[in-house]
Symmetry: C2
Subunit: 339 residues, 2 copies
């Protein structure tokens, strides 16, 4: 069974390629194709199982129906959860997803964007590392739909979906104060991406509002897992007064728990702990870990909504979405009643 082309369908129906094409593209009415002929063509397509050749189609229309998902790390629970929902929803609407991880590496990301653009993807969902402003701007200039998430570039007029990092931090840190902890440290990355800065600012503001001194440990993204744990261990040894820690990412919270284990200290007696990004792990851990839950589902659906809307209309309105988070208080941030 050789592959069927539109020509074969036309021949079987004693009509022209043009007419079949019109029917295929839902332009039968607009182009005044008679109902009988339309039905006949549709039936033939159904019977033969004919499928349009996507290359030929893409060649004319320049459309692929593929969205590029360029995220920091597909193996991170937060990003893979988002990827999962985006993928699912995109498929339902007839789009496919090509994905890749940036490792938050600027050069890698630039290359990936170039690679994807060569492939004529229809739209991009990106968690940009720093330094790719020009590439993003160039996409926008070329009228290629883009939406950023998790972070954005304040100087760039782009669509994005983020959470309210500043107030989330405030809420988390204030909760620790309210629970009776006094010397609250922040463990964060040394990244100067805006979401990280906002988490940092929220922390500092709350610390100062409570008349305390900020205590911050920054760990580079490139730091190896072992080294990260070591740094936290060292920091905690050298700052004995610290009685609570706010981790600005889920993976740093992991490292922190390892560090506390290594020190043979306990939560929340020695340290209270709050993490950014909730996940099953934190609920099951002993003690359960207080965390800030990002609205993964809302973020994902909003991303798809925006990108599809941009892909299917000429309108140039820019949508900036800031979602709020949910502090889930668990055992790790509440002082135990010593009986």
């Amino acid at each position: 069974m050789a592959k069927l082309s539109i020509k074969d369908i036309a021949q079987r129906c004693n009509t022209s390629i043009t007419t079949v094409s019109f029917v295929l593209n839902g332009k039968a009415d607009e182009k005044r194709i008679s109902v009988e002929l339309k039905e006949k063509i549709l039936k033939t397509i159904e019977d033969t199982g004919y499928k349009q050749n996507q290359f030929a189609r893409g060649m004319r229309t320049g459309k692929t129906n593929i969205i590029g998902l360029i995220i920091e790390d597909i193996s991170n629970a937060f990003f893979s959860a988002v990827a999962r929902i985006i993928e699912e929803d995109a498929y339902k609407r007839g789009y496919k997803i090509i994905y890749c991880s940036t490792d938050d590496n600027t050069e890698k990301t630039k290359e990936l964007i170039k690679l994807f653009v060569e492939r004529n993807l229809d739209g991009y969902i990106i968690t940009p590392p720093k330094g790719v402003e020009d590439e993003i701007q160039s996409l926008i200039d070329r009228k290629i739909p883009v939406v950023l998430f998790d972070r954005y570039f304040p100087g760039l007029e782009t669509d994005y979906v983020v959470v309210d990092n500043f107030n989330t931090s405030k809420k988390a840190v204030q909760h620790l104060f309210d629970s009776g902890f006094e010397h609250i440290a922040l463990v964060t990355t040394s990244s100067d991406q805006n979401q990280m800065l906002e988490r940092l600012n929220g922390y500092e503001k709350t610390i100062l509002e409570n008349g305390k001194e900020p205590k911050i440990l920054k760990i580079p993204f490139t730091c190896s897992p072992e080294q990260s744990v070591k740094e936290i261990v060292t920091y905690l040894k050298e700052n004995k007064e610290v009685d609570a820690i706010f981790f600005s990412t889920n993976y740093l919270a992991f490292k922190g728990l390892e560090a506390i284990n290594q020190l043979k200290l306990t939560i929340p007696d020695d340290f209270a702990v709050v993490a950014f990004d909730d996940q099953d792990f934190f609920r099951i851990y002993n003690p359960s870990i207080t965390a800030v839950a990002q609205p993964v589902r809302d973020i994902s659906l909003k991303l798809i909504d925006i990108i599809l809307q941009k892909m299917n209309s000429e309108e140039k309105l820019v949508e900036k979405v800031v979602l709020s988070t949910n502090l889930i208080v668990r055992d790790s941030s509440v002082k135990r009643c010593i009986k």
Copy 2:
């Protein structure tokens, strides 16, 4: 700046489209293009930043340089780790990955395969749910490269990469006996996929070899998280003699830990625990959880190797790879010395 085509390059070099195409496809020598002309063309391409149009190319060659990754669930730590490595390696070699999750749903998977085939992907890496034998066979018949992983169909002559589930189970269960536990239960899915059956068989064999009775709890994949936990709780209440549990998947181990927490029981005093699939979580948990580590990196690289080799050669040899696993003994499966 309008988009450049091969025609523009040809004009700038005062040569033909054909010649440029030969140079582009590395056939310059074969087709006896003079070195000077070749250099000139290459330089022009470099200078102008010309890129081949992938549609037109795909239309002629039928090649997309895209591999379809069809896995059970991208948000599962094991699969996302594999996806991460595959993606990374594929990019390095000039291939892109389109992915999707099957949810282990037969109908969904069939649709996905159909969808991908319409897009003319060059190859497929699949964790098949049951019931898609015909679709896989049809890919093979059409000479489309496929490699399965995590599981396979014994009746089908396909390439695959799996771990030695039977002996892994044996090793895990025997370890529990060796550590002094006597009534070892298995918590597994009710799936009859071959990897699950082998894990089950390995368990039963070892139990019988040690002169004991198998105790098995099966939980359907479709069971909700809450319900799963409830089932385990009930089972443990009704089988008081059980002193150790082997979980056949990582997510079941999660449920099991939750169940044990709910029962306010402790590991390993009340139950020893061993899980299938290692992850950070198990190392950090209190107590740390003994787990069987699949060689994620080896699995991923082998998958890419096989699929690329099949994509780039006519040879029909079928590669069946069975990798061994690594039992990582941690606190959850070793009796404490009561001092």
